[in-house]
Symmetry: C2
């Protein structure tokens, strides 16, 4: 698979723009005081489905031929990507087949159902998900839309940074979280395509530091522990996202679980916006691990989907 | 005391504008679908101190003579008004004396302290608060800034609706919550001053329906129960706010505790913004008690200050 280019992302933006929200860029005086910098939050928590994922899903689905599209699309996910694929498929008027673990939270099952997707339940192991997905694809002929090991997905996710840099062109650094690496890859391609002067920094939980280790050693390390509060960042990089990150990212920093929880609570309390734990990871990086002094730093806030009955500062 | 006029509010806005945020007006597709109307939320949760209260406090303090100002200002409150008075006094460079109950949450005490105010603790009864305040005023010569029984406070609070109607001029109705009635009074004066065509509706918890009863009977009823989740709406109207409401408000509707909690959670989940329970009261009114069909309705979101450790859907 080829690494997407900056011009791929520019073209993708033209295509998906009518289907996604232009999310706001917010600032906060107390955040600036604490970091000693100027922090610009690109608020994809206000995006459709509550996360940047709709960008990649919309673009990937737009790139299917009519014949492919008729067979529908499939994916396995219990998170934001499932909702994004379901909604983007609904918009194109094609079937979506979503494989979800039996123990997926009812609220997420309902959200996918509300978009009219077909759900197949499976055991909650990775093997069961993948084999069930293969069965669904065999039966239906649907196209598998991988959440990040897919150049169109990466291309779509890169449009968030494109919008950020249109809204706030003069940045010294762009920061994003790294899970499977789709958002980070797209962000890095966009940012380096627009300017060589902007530092590109990834951030990851210390306990799920596969991207950090892979980046340091030059070899793909699968994630060892998934015991992080940042539930969107429990996945490993793929060959494709690792290649993008190696090519374009300048640095990856890691943060502790307590730093993630504190950063999330700080944003909720001071800015009155709901961000999910994964989005607090780059905030924590800016607060504790990066010298932000007098720098203009854009941060991609990946989403705002969280179970409001179980907040991390209450456990 | 005289009821403030629309032109008082226009003048006040000129004075306080440099000191307060122009808060955004947000919309949401799902909220519109559920109400069958077009709902415009004036987001004072994004205001300084996290609530509209800074508007009234800033204006009231701006109206003190230099001699009065030198003696400082005083109030008793454990809520948003205390922080607003503390910050507005700090901005004018004068002392603030805040009487707070001993059992006030530490986070609120710290917030007031952070603005440099002098805190006097007292027992948590209304009597203790009032007598302690009198002592503080006697000792210091400070001016008492009542949270709502003060024409300048009402005038300042009315600037939120003024901004809303500048941002979204074509409304059929404006909805606000009623606690002591300062926000409702200011909102009603502004709205009726701008147009006789816009309906002005107040909303209140059913279990703290003093304004509803007073409005229905024409006689001021003090609040009987303070057992509502909407902690900002536990106070009774004053003579002054009751007079404003009688003159300008068209209707008052009441909502149940469960409707408040559900409405608050709906906004958090769907819009990813943090609103306090008091702000969910007019949302619940729009969802359950008002015919919104095809109407353009502005709602004043009063604030976003809530203890994130104790959310009402968890108790």
């Amino acid at each position: 698979m080829q690494i997407p280019t900056f011009s791929n992302i520019q073209e993708a933006y033209q295509i998906i723009q009518p289907e996604v929200h232009q999310t706001p860029v917010l600032t906060n005086q107390q955040l600036d005081e604490r970091t000693r910098g100027h922090i610009y939050l690109k608020c994809e928590n206000f995006q459709k489905v509550g996360a940047f994922k709709i960008r990649g899903a919309t673009y990937a689905i737009s790139q299917l031929s009519d014949e492919e599209a008729r067979q529908g699309v499939a994916t396995h996910s219990s998170g934001n990507h499932a909702q994004a694929v379901a909604l983007a498929a609904k918009k194109r008027g094609i079937p979506a087949y979503i494989v979800m673990p039996k123990n997926a939270p009812q609220v997420k099952v309902n959200a996918v159902k509300d978009y009219g997707a077909n759900i197949t339940f499976c055991e909650s192991t990775q093997d069961a998900r993948e084999s069930t997905l293969r069965d669904v694809v065999d039966e239906t002929g649907a196209s598998f839309i991988h959440p990040y090991n897919n150049p169109h997905i990466i291309t779509g996710q890169g449009t968030a940074a494109l919008e950020l840099l249109e809204q706030q062109p003069h940045l010294d650094m762009v920061l994003a979280p790294i899970g499977g690496g789709g958002l980070m890859s797209g962000t890095a391609i966009t940012t380096s395509g627009l300017s060589r002067e902007i530092a590109i920094v990834g951030s990851e939980p210390e306990v799920a530091n596969d991207a950090f280790l892979s980046f340091q050693t030059g070899t793909l390390h699968p994630v060892q522990s998934t015991d992080t509060v940042a539930d969107g960042l429990r996945t490993s990089l793929s060959e494709l996202t690792f290649a993008c990150i190696q090519k374009h990212v300048d640095e990856i920093v890691t943060v502790t679980e307590q730093q993630i929880i504190d950063a999330m609570r700080f944003i909720w309390e001071r800015m009155k916006i709901i961000i999910e734990p994964s989005s607090a990871v780059p905030i924590a990086a800016a607060l504790h691990h990066i010298d932000c002094t007098d720098k203009r730093i854009g941060i991609i806030i990946s989403g705002g989907n969280i179970d409001l009955k179980h907040l991390p500062w209450q456990s």
